[in-house]
């Protein structure tokens, strides 16, 4: 498995079959987070998962990451069942999850070290990926010195550096301001176009989903199911104000609105939707 040449190991498809998650707790009723769901993601697809809060999209992502065991069904990456977290299934977290005791370059090199790479090789490779996100000059900085946008760029460099087969992103730009967010969306697209990893990207923003993804999946209010599975064939870079872009955006919004109405009724108006 440890192949340290700069050759990419490539990417893999994801197969989700009859996957369901029910959270059991001692104090309260079991919560059905995800209804049996089947989905096929092809290798190299950029999937965006959108849906109301608590629709199970993060649950699905956490199953793919190996953090949560499904109650029924299974998820496979390249034909192999996901049973536990794996460096081959990379993840980018909303709150960056950088290691504050390491400087920038050692954060990027963390996974490479675990893959058995020597210090010089992994620093060289980490530098390459820091350059890719435009942070070459920040290699020796402490991560606490960076802004939120910079931190997420380090996290993106960190996940791509280990060359995983799939990359899971849990609202990675959710905590960033609008301008930084647009910049990072653009940068992520560039990187993805270069090495075509399978990306599963959870977001609250319909615009972000249509801008980035090759396929948008809308989930229903809890318990989550697939409500809409929409291919986005627009060429990059996409124009926010283009006719087809806005048509797709509206299509997805309409579907979401139905679900939002349901979840509002369910929670007595407690649910909120952030864009």
């Amino acid at each position: 498995m440890a192949d340290h040449t700069s050759q990419s190991r490539g990417t893999k498809g994801i197969s989700i079959s009859e996957l369901a998650v029910t959270f059991q707790s001692e104090e309260s009723e079991p919560v059905e987070a995800l209804r049996p769901t089947s989905l096929e993601f092809e290798a190299g697809e950029f999937i965006a998962l959108v849906g109301p809060s608590g629709c199970g999209k993060s649950t699905l992502l956490n199953v793919l990451a190996g953090f949560i065991k499904p109650s029924a069904g299974q998820a496979l990456v390249g034909g192999e069942t996901i049973t536990k977290p794996d460096i081959d299934h990379g993840m980018v977290f909303q709150d960056y999850a950088l290691f504050p005791w390491l400087n920038v370059i050692d954060n990027v090199a963390f996974g490479l070290e675990r893959q058995g790479m020597g210090v010089e090789d992994r620093h060289a490779k980490a530098r390459e990926y820091l350059d890719m996100v435009g942070l070459k000059d920040f290699a020796d900085k402490r991560v606490t010195e960076l802004s939120g946008g910079m931190k997420q760029r380090v996290a993106i460099a960190r996940v791509f550096a280990t060359d995983p087969s799939i990359i899971l992103m849990d609202e990675p730009f959710g905590a960033l301001d609008a301008l930084t967010r647009r910049f990072l969306q653009h940068q992520l697209l560039e990187i993805w176009q270069r090495n075509r990893k399978t990306v599963v990207f959870v977001t609250h923003s319909v615009q972000e989903a249509v801008y980035l993804a090759s396929r948008v999946i809308v989930m229903t209010a809890r318990p989550g199911r697939v409500k809409l599975d929409q291919k986005i064939d627009l060429p990059h870079p996409r124009d926010f104000s283009g006719e087809e872009f806005r048509r797709l955006e509206k299509l997805i919004y309409d579907q979401l609105d139905e679900e939002l109405a349901k979840s509002f009724k369910l929670e007595g108006g407690g649910g909120t939707f952030h864009d």
Binding site: A65, G66, F67, K84, P85, D86, I87, H89, G90, M91, F93, D95, A97, L98, F99, P100, W101, L102, F110, G111, R114, Q115, R142, T144, R158, T162
Partner: protein, 254 residues
């Protein structure tokens, strides 16, 4: 240049404090007209201090006390840190061990002195035992809370970045993440150990700063008592300064 200025600035308050204490001391001597065996003037104490420095006695006593504290403290850390890591990580293990810890914790290390003497005599083992008890709990409790305080998302990040077993996760994520809190525990425990060794030596020792004080009392040499006390204070401040430097190196901010 800059660092020497900074050091001078941080030492200055201690200097003022020292001058203030000596002033009050001298006033007390003048106004109470105390017998020299009960309260010697600062100058006499300073002379005795210099004498003990010159003949090396002070270093022998301080070295003995420090040596006992350091060895017991290291022993303590070697057991408390792994135990604390395990307790912080595994709930069930914590539930098992915690009641035992909680029952022992309120018992002052000084309460163990009689048993230590009965069991180990007045040799080194008994004192190491006392300091071990004095330093054990602060290290343990800080390690436990340090591990519990590790951001779960960092653990997940470690897992998806190739820490696929507990050993790797401890070494690469949990231990470094908990390190600032563990260092605080090490620092606090050195303080409690330093306080306890003096008590242990007061009761049973042939050498050590506690012995210097106890012996000074027996032979009515309060200047010796005061020299011992001053040495304890100075060493305590110096040790804490060392820890603060180490602390700064490990506190990567939050």
């Amino acid at each position: 240049m800059k660092t020497s200025v900074k050091t001078a600035a941080s030492v200055l308050p201690y200097l003022w404090a020292a001058i203030f204490i000596v002033f009050v001391w001298q006033m007390a001597v003048i106004f109470t007209q105390a017998h020299v065996a009960l309260l010697p003037p600062p100058l006499l104490a300073a002379k005795t201090f210099a004498e003990l420095v010159v003949n090396g006695q002070l270093f022998v006593h301080a070295g003995a006390s420090l040596g006992r504290v350091v060895s017991a403290w290291l022993l303590s850390a070697a057991i408390a840190i792994p135990l604390g890591l395990a307790m912080g990580r595994w709930r069930r293990f914590e539930h098992l061990v915690d009641p035992v810890i909680e029952l022992f914790r309120p018992i002052s290390p000084l309460a163990w002195i009689p048993l230590a003497i009965l069991w180990f005599g007045i040799g080194e083992t008994g004192k190491i035992f006392i300091i071990f008890i004095a330093t054990f709990f602060p290290i343990l409790l800080n390690t436990v809370s340090g591990v519990k305080g590790v951001d779960p998302v960092l653990i997940r990040a470690g897992q998806v970045l190739g820490c696929d077993n507990d050993r790797a996760l401890f070494r690469k994520v949990i231990l470094p993440a908990a390190m600032p809190t563990i260092i605080v525990g090490l620092r606090i425990s050195f303080g409690t150990g330093w306080a306890a060794i003096i008590a242990a030596e007061l009761v049973a020792a042939q050498v050590g700063l506690g012995y210097l004080i106890a012996d000074g009392m027996e032979v009515l040499r309060s200047d010796l008592v005061l020299v011992g006390m001053v040495a304890i204070g100075i060493l305590g401040v110096l040790i804490d300064a060392v820890f603060r430097t180490v602390n700064d190196r490990f506190s990567w901010g939050t």
